[in-house]
């Protein structure tokens, strides 16, 4: 079984990634390894927006870990998974920001904890709360790489969230339906 690889991008905190690795392994039931590779993502920084282009980073990670070029359609769900984690803000050109981005049924995903920190909203620093949010968003983006779309259930980590309140409200694990879909996809390669 292919492990999930975690990649520290930019100035992401090593301690945060260590904690994240353990949490993800527990929920996914898969080996999660923290890679020592530090790919250069500076080319994806937008000087005007002061954000990183998440689509570019996802493509870079795909190129590093997948054999085939990325496709628009759902790809091989059994492909190896890689999740890049960074502390800086992410965007896709048409949106003001994203918490993360993933290839649906593909290999690569990226997540940022920039907007998951309380201090960004004028609240006291709360590393534990930030970690909870990061675990949820990391599981969410990895769920997409396993072919899962957004789930209607607020109990499920695949529930869509466009602000931190949404993230706090939703559950921190896959619902039974999403877990089942993910496991069957992992086993036979279909969604």
């Amino acid at each position: 079984m292919n492990p999930v690889t975690l990649l520290r991008l930019g100035d992401a905190d090593r301690g945060v990634l260590d904690l994240l690795r353990a949490e993800l392994a527990g929920e996914l039931g898969l080996p999660v390894v923290l890679s020592e590779a530090t790919p250069d993502i500076s080319g994806f920084f937008d000087q005007e927006r002061l954000q990183f282009n998440s689509t570019g980073i996802v493509r870079l990670l795909h190129g590093m870990f997948a054999k085939d070029p990325p496709r628009a359609e759902v790809q091989d769900i059994r492909a190896p998974k890689v999740l890049g984690v960074l502390a800086d803000d992410l965007f896709i050109p048409v949106l003001t920001f994203v918490f993360g981005e993933a290839q649906l049924g593909g290999t690569a995903a990226v997540v940022s904890y920039h907007r998951l920190q309380n201090e960004r909203y004028g609240l006291p620093r709360d590393p534990a709360r930030m970690m909870e949010r990061l675990v949820k968003e990391s599981l969410h983006e990895l769920g997409h790489t396993f072919g899962l779309v957004h789930c209607m259930s607020q109990e499920c980590v695949m529930h869509a969230s466009t602000d931190v309140e949404d993230i706090d409200l939703k559950g921190d694990a896959f619902c039974r339906a999403c877990k089942g879909a993910m496991e069957s996809g992992r086993n036979d390669g279909v969604r």
Partner: protein, 448 residues
Amino acid sequence: MNKSNIGILVVDDELIVRESLTKWFHEDGYRVGAAENAAVALKKLQENGWNLMLVDIKMPGMDGIELLQRVREINKKIVVIIITAFAAVDTAVKALKEGAYDYITKPIDPDYLDHLVDKAIKQQELVLENEKLKDTVTELSAPADIIGDSEEMQKAMELVRTVAPTDTTVMIRGESGTGKELVARAIHAGSPRKFFPMVTVNCGAMTETLLESELFGHERGAFTGAQYRRKGKVELADGGTLFLDEIGNVDMKTQMDLLRVIETRQFMRVGGSEVVRSDFRVLCATNKDLEKAVREGSFREDLYYRLNVFTIWLPPLRARRGDIAKLAHFFLEKYSRAMNKPMRGFSPEAMHALKAFDWPGNVRELENAIERAMVVSPGPMIQKEHLPLDGAGPVMADGKRLEDVERSHIFQVLKECGWNVSRSAATLGIDRVTLYHKIEKYGLKRDQ
């Protein structure tokens, strides 16, 4: 909401925008398509199943506004959201005027995008649901019970179809039991007011004070027992139709009140001082000789002219004997279902008797006769002896109003006595003046 049934088409000349939005909605579970220009978008619109379009306003060739206009021509149900590079109020206003649901500026706040799309799709679902409900109401409110192939009935129904869609006041005239209320319902159902209520007031069934309160409602404490404010039928008919049944039986004071409310569409509740407005269409019905009542001064001439704008005369059943068989079978089927008693039909003798009878109580009497015959018939075939048409007497079914029974009985006695009023009065055990009053009250005529 099953999002995989909802199609979103992204139209933008920038590949990155198409890819980003396609992916965004795909992750949300929607069925997503993309087009790089208006021409491709229009081609894709030939495929069914697009609910929402996100259209960039600035594209080479046909721009977003023009595409929006074309989409509105093709399919008004598709929700179009315009994407602009910067907030230009004039273009945004233009887009909204052309029928866009809303506009968003790039870069889009993801929370706002999700909220907007969700809201637009929910509203579209409500519109579609509303259309379906309206179709269902139209279907359910269709005047299915008006049966008659005879020329007289066909002419009456043609008039119903002509006048129904208008807001014209209609007076429906005909003997008791000819189906005046059904025709009123058909007119209401065929009018743009069909989604509002048709409120019926039986003017003949109430005393003067009761009718006033029934029509106009009352305020709390207006009279003993008025513990709450109560809306009257005129107020309840707001937006719909007010059907004044047996208008010829209304007393002079209420005639005056009715005239005022019909002319102004304004009134005051009993015991109230507030002027209440109500928008209603008036339909009325009578079996009385209103012209005679006007001549005699018992019916206001101004009210008569106000009500007698368009008249539909319903023929008595004996004047359309050709419809008796069809009506008889209709009622047989209706009560067969209601009683859960399978019936095959009528014996030739029974049908002959039905066709030969005069039916002074008209269709209502025929319906009662068939209901009663079904109760007493042991088998699936109605025989002549099951029909209560023996002798000259009309059918008196249980539950029939006393007035109907009295009318039929007086009519039969008059017929038996050759319309000799003195003999008829003696037979009935009443004086001649009373009989004259009854003849007038029930609109009885020798040639009926």
